[in-house]
Subunit: 157 residues, 2 copies
DNA sequence: GATATATTGATAACCATTATCATTTGACGG
DNA sequence: CCGTCAAATGATAATGGTTATCAATATATC
């Protein structure tokens, strides 16, 4: 038996993972639980590498490959959502009990603001209909300069 | 002197490139012109690698590094636009005298349909305003199944 | 044409990610 | 509990797309 969560509210995510593993001949393991816990503790968009750095601080014995594998597993299980950033790196964010949203990204400081705009979603549905496509998902990123960076007039790096 | 275009209408793109090079201590070269011509002859979204394959058929002496370098140059000069695909590869498309548009992507066959939706653009502008961001650009991809693939009920690969 | 400098192509290096594989671990039945 | 066995692990090598290095070459200007 492995369980024994620290964050009370993370129990349900863990059960989602366990349910996903069940019947698939996959096993619940200590490294997987640690990766899940660390991931749930991060309220941001992280790459697998960044997640690995955070995981190491909790359990240095966990290998990089396991973190990469597990975060993919979390995505399959519906606990994480990933997207390929414009620089080519893949980032992950929480997906369980998180509503769909898109992102405003500051090109100067990298800040990310999440937003939902019903009108955009509606217009997208219309585009799908017009072209006879069946929707499976979309990615929208609005690039720009955030209020703080506009004030500074900065041009990072 | 290098010039001597085959496609009559490509002359203006070439002059855009030459103008960009001028005053920047950059030089117009035969490989650059070849890469530009081949690129202009492809009405699709291509990776640098795919462009390299096409360039080789015209001039096998041109190296891969030069194609990668040149296509980046074309982007800087405003002749190409690039985007990172979800699989991590970067693809390029024509940007000169091409209006902004977004993409519908078939997840089964990879087909790409370009579209412009004024309503989406308007709603995006509203999001920028609401959050005090200064817009610099955006990327929107609608993933789905195209009409042909829906009929086949296919699930590629 | 000679000169100075940018460009080239072959190659090595890079980075994020994935595959390989011997060893360890967890789930299950006894 | 313990044994069994497939699944998981971590170290490492390999991959794919891209960029850096560098000696040789081509270009613009004089
Ligand atoms: Mn988000
Ligand atoms: Mn396009
Ligand atoms: Zn900012
Ligand atoms: Zn299709």
């Amino acid at each position: 038996m492995i369980f024994n969560m620290k964050r009370a509210d993370a129990a349900t995510e863990l059960s989602v993972l366990v349910d996903y593993l069940q019947g698939r001949d996959l096993k619940m393991t200590r490294p997987r639980q640690t990766v899940l816990e660390v991931f749930l503790g991060i309220e941001a968009h992280v790459t697998a590498e960044e997640l690995y750095d955070a995981v190491r601080k909790v359990d240095p014995s966990i290998g990089q490959a396991t973190v990469f594998r597990t975060v993919r597993l979390l995505e399959e299980a519906g606990l994480a959502r990933s997207a390929c950033r414009d620089d080519g790196a893949r980032s992950y964010e929480h997906a369980y009990r998180h509503k769909h949203h898109d992102h405003l990204v500051c090109v100067d400081c990298g800040a990310i603001v999440e937003f939902r705009e019903a009108e955009i979603e509606r217009a997208q549905a219309a585009v799908y209909r017009k072209h006879g496509f069946e929707a499976t998902g979309h990615s929208l990123e609005l690039f720009g300069r955030c209020p703080a960076c506009r004030r500074k007039g900065g041009t990072r790096a």
